[in-house]
């Protein structure tokens, strides 16, 4: 049976190095299978985060040969011949080995003002398929945070994390903005507090999305356009001033009352 050398980064916040494990190749295996085999034999303490092993939960993101991938959906036989290198996502602080501290994303999630729908009529809301489809695309997001990982605004500039929500949350803002029931207006918040303007549309996020969400074209660009509309449309401006716009202006971390 032929073998493959896995170069896996091992260490913690204090530093680390690559360790090489040579394992048998088995038909149809994905990178996560190989990691599991190494855990079960040579290195029971090799840290790796995973859950569903079916591309649905987004837990096992790492960088395989330098590219962000879900380890459970990356087949070994589709990688180039030679050693396979596995490293943790670069943008987030290391906990141990392949596991990173992704709490930045959860902190950003807490700052998204909730949906504000009108009261529900008897027998449920009426919404049409074409109106929910735009939001449904963004709700496919499995929160693997690979888009956040590759976004150079925070990958290369740690200091931007304080004022930049990142692509995962721009699709969330876009989803709520396009939600047929929502009455909140988060455009100013997205632009002024969440750093939408920092995104210069390099589409790195879209390229790595395992759900093939068109993050830049379908979420970020339309969101930027809506921000511009809100800013320069004198009617919308007046509406905001006299607080009679169709949407309520939501602020950072504003917690909405339960409907």
């Amino acid at each position: 049976m032929s073998q493959v050398s896995m170069r896996i980064w091992r260490g913690d916040a204090n530093g680390g190095d690559f360790e090489t494990y040579t394992v048998d190749k088995q038909e149809g295996e994905v990178v996560l299978d190989v990691i599991h085999r190494i855990q079960a034999t040579e290195a029971p303490d090799l840290a790796c985060r995973w859950n569903c092993k079916a591309g649905k939960c987004g837990s096992c993101a790492a960088e395989v040969n330098g590219k962000p991938r879900l380890m459970c959906m990356t087949r070994m036989d589709q990688l180039p011949e030679g050693d396979v290198t596995v490293t943790p996502m670069k943008t987030f602080p290391i906990i141990r080995d392949l596991v990173t501290d992704v709490s930045f994303n959860y902190a950003m999630a807490e700052r998204v003002p909730a949906l504000l729908p009108p009261p529900m009529p008897e027998g449920g809301y009426r919404m049409f398929q074409e109106d929910v489809e735009r939001g449904q695309e963004f709700r496919k997001c499995i929160e693997c945070f690979m888009c956040q990982n590759v976004c150079h605004v925070i990958r290369d500039h740690e200091e931007n994390k304080a004022h930049y929500a990142g692509p995962r949350f721009f699709i969330r803002y876009a989803e709520l903005e396009m939600h047929p029931l929502d009455q909140n207006d988060r455009r100013e918040l997205a632009q002024e507090v969440m750093g939408l303007g920092y995104c210069n549309i390099t589409k790195c996020c879209t390229e790595v999305c395992p759900e093939h969400i068109k993050i830049t074209d379908n979420a970020i660009i339309p969101l930027k356009e809506r921000v511009v509309d809100a800013k320069y449309d004198p009617v919308a401006w007046l509406g905001r001033k006299i607080r009679r716009g169709s949407k309520r202006s939501a602020t950072d971390a504003q917690v909405q009352p339960a409907p």
Binding site: A54, G55, A109, V255, P259
Partner: protein
């Protein structure tokens, strides 16, 4: 390394263990009652096994078939469960699930729509009408994200990657909290609470071929048993008929029942649509007896009877198993699930996007052009903690349970789509039950420090041994043993062998040796999951031994029929000392007696 003190402690009114659909829904309810709520999860928030649910959540909203109502849903659920269900749970579930689904829309869920803008509902096995609210084939993700976002917007404390070791009691014997450790740091933490809700999901990780993630180790089942609660129906395990079988590394990954609901059919190696040969008498009157009749049904349920592919899951899984045994299986030991020859590529990609994706990327199979190879996979446990239907209360004061960890709702076999609705109906009721209990005067007292010390000493013991067992070896041996002896078809000799083997595995698990530190150490994490896995496996094997009949998710080849006496009882398990190594007592307890009006509903259309 071998000694540890607890340096962190938290106080809550309601503590929820598990952050899947049931746990999050319970948290929302308790929070809305003004209580201080904490949620503990072994993983990150939003990764719970609920995300794996594909097809939808069953609720008799009547959006597609106006004839649908709670009475029909109740009847379908009881028949699917082979009447072993806690009737009151099935009744509440059928009555309340529409409200729970509509409520999700107020929190941001975006379901697929009917042409007139209502929530679209799809067909599934065992449901008389198209009843499953869904979003393509990723309904579980929609549920978890909606509840997650709601919980976060309410400002709830969530302890992520925190593993609970055991429940703690106060001086009166009420459950008063728990002891846990943080996976990232390995540090121990205690929690005090006036009420604890278990929402820990299932047990599937004890089988070799399973759709369950690593988390499905039965922690809540086991902790409830150790804490003094009863487990029932643990022999009733659902083997989902359609899991992937190839490549081997993905064997067990779920293929949604929605494939069959949307027109997919099962064929053997001879191309025969074999399910027509496996229609049990109980379902004959409502099942099509020709392909032509079955095919008419998809477009108009009045024009023909249901296709046999949409029989309840236990029936379909047994049929597949029999075809493979008879030598008519697919090359990799399954059968064929064919939608490619029956629906357009565009339809398949729109209705089943993640199935398309999953087969394309993992197996190199284009399901719009080729049939899928599938076979049964361990998917769900119907059994669980015995609870009061209305309040989700267990027999231990202060302890509640909801979702897969609770038993009774689904009887001997769960219908597809009834799980997600179970989570939101009984998650809410557990939150209500806990809140009512607290408003009734429950206080937060201390807890038994001895229980804390013992749990920590147990957890750390593997680090004290120079030499011993590898936890991964024990897990593998457990999975292979349970797959072989307590799988889809069982017999007395194999079940007895399993009961003996579990004692040997317990001894081995008592002798694990580990290296490395406590910080995010998966070997150690597994070592602390094994006591739960072994405990629930013992209950399953003992239940399988004592239920000398075949019913739903429990099939005995030596007792192929049903038994009139066993039809009236749950098999229940208890333990006395709270130690995971100790003996389990197994008895029969009578089913809840059903009122006459509900009995009459079951007679209709029989």
């Amino acid at each position: 390394m071998t000694t540890a003190t607890v340096t962190e402690h938290h106080d809550y009114d309601v503590l929820i263990i598990g952050a899947g659909g049931a746990g999050l829904r319970a948290a929302i309810e308790a929070k809305q009652r003004g209580l201080k709520v904490g949620i503990i999860t072994k993983s990150l928030l939003g990764k719970a096994h609920t995300v794996m649910a594909e097809g939808g959540m069953a609720a008799a909203m009547g959006n597609v078939y106006e004839e649908d109502n709670w009475q029909v849903h109740f009847r379908d659920t009881m028949r699917g469960g082979k009447y072993l269900n806690n009737y009151r749970m099935a009744e509440l579930h059928a009555k309340e699930s529409p409200e729970r689904v509509w409520e999700l829309e107020q929190w941001g869920a975006l379901f697929d729509r009917t042409p007139d803008g209502k929530i679209l509902q799809r067909d599934f096995g065992g449901h008389r009408y198209a009843r499953l609210a869904h979003v393509g084939d990723r309904t579980g993700l929609e549920l978890i994200r909606t509840l997650q976002q709601k919980v976060v917007s309410m400002g709830t404390d969530v302890f992520m990657e925190c593993k609970v070791l055991r429940l703690l009691h106060d001086a009166n014997g009420s459950v008063a909290g728990c002891v846990a450790y943080w996976r990232p740091s390995g540090e121990f933490v205690t929690f005090s609470a006036k009420a604890v809700v278990l929402a820990t999901g299932g047990v599937g990780k004890s089988w070799k071929f399973t759709s369950n993630s690593w988390e499905g180790t039965g922690d809540g089942h086991a902790m409830a048993l150790w804490a003094g609660a009863e487990l029932i129906d643990m022999e009733c395990i659902q083997f989902h008929p359609t899991g992937m079988v190839w490549p081997l590394s993905v064997r067990g990954i779920l293929v949604t029942e929605g494939v069959r609901g949307d027109g997919g059919v099962l064929r053997n190696s001879e191309g025969e649509r074999f399910m027509f040969n496996y229609v049990a008498d109980m379902f004959r009157a409502e099942t099509a007896d020709s392909e032509e009749e079955a095919d008419r049904w998809y477009d108009d349920h009045a024009a023909g009877r249901r296709p046999p592919e949409l029989l309840p899951r236990d029936e379909v899984a047994r049929a597949i198993n029999a075809e493979v045994k008879a030598g008519r299986g697919s090359p990799h030991g399954g059968v064929f699930l064919d939608i490619a020859s029956r629906r357009s590529a565009e339809f398949i990609r729109r209705r089943l996007p993640s199935m398309y994706h999953q087969f394309m990327e993992l197996a190199g199979v284009d399901i719009t052009r080729e049939a899928m190879e599938i076979g049964p996979t361990c998917h769900y446990i119907m059994g669980g903690v015995k609870v009061d239907a209305d309040s989700a209360a267990t027999k231990v004061k202060g302890l509640f349970a909801a979702g897969e960890v609770a038993g009774g709702m689904h009887g001997a076999n769960r219908l597809g789509g009834n799980s997600l609705s179970d989570l939101i109906v009984f998650g809410r009721r557990a939150g209500m039950g806990a809140a009512d209990y607290i408003e009734g005067g429950a206080t937060r007292g201390g807890f038994d420090q001895g229980e804390v010390d013992k749990a920590i000493a147990d957890a750390l013991a593997p680090f004290t041994r120079e030499k011993g067992e590898n936890p991964y070896d024990i897990q593998r041996d457990l999975q292979e043993m349970m797959q072989a002896n307590v799988g889809i078809i069982r017999n007395g000799a194999e079940v007895d062998a399993a009961i003996e083997a579990l004692e040997v595995l317990t001894e081995r698990a008592n002798n694990i040796a580990l290296s490395g530190g406590r910080q995010y150490n998966p070997g150690w994490n597994l070592a602390t999951d094994l006591p739960s896995m072994l405990t629930v496996s013992k209950c399953t094997a003992r239940g399988a031994r004592d239920r000398k009949e075949s019913r739903g998710g429990h099939t005995r080849e030596d007792f192929p029929g049903t038994d009139a006496q066993l039809a009236t009882v749950n098999i229940a398990h208890t333990t006395t000392s709270g130690d995971w190594r100790d003996a389990i007592t197994t008895t029969q307890i009578p089913l809840l007696a059903m009122p006459a009006d509900l009995k009459a509903l079951l007679e209709e259309g029989k």
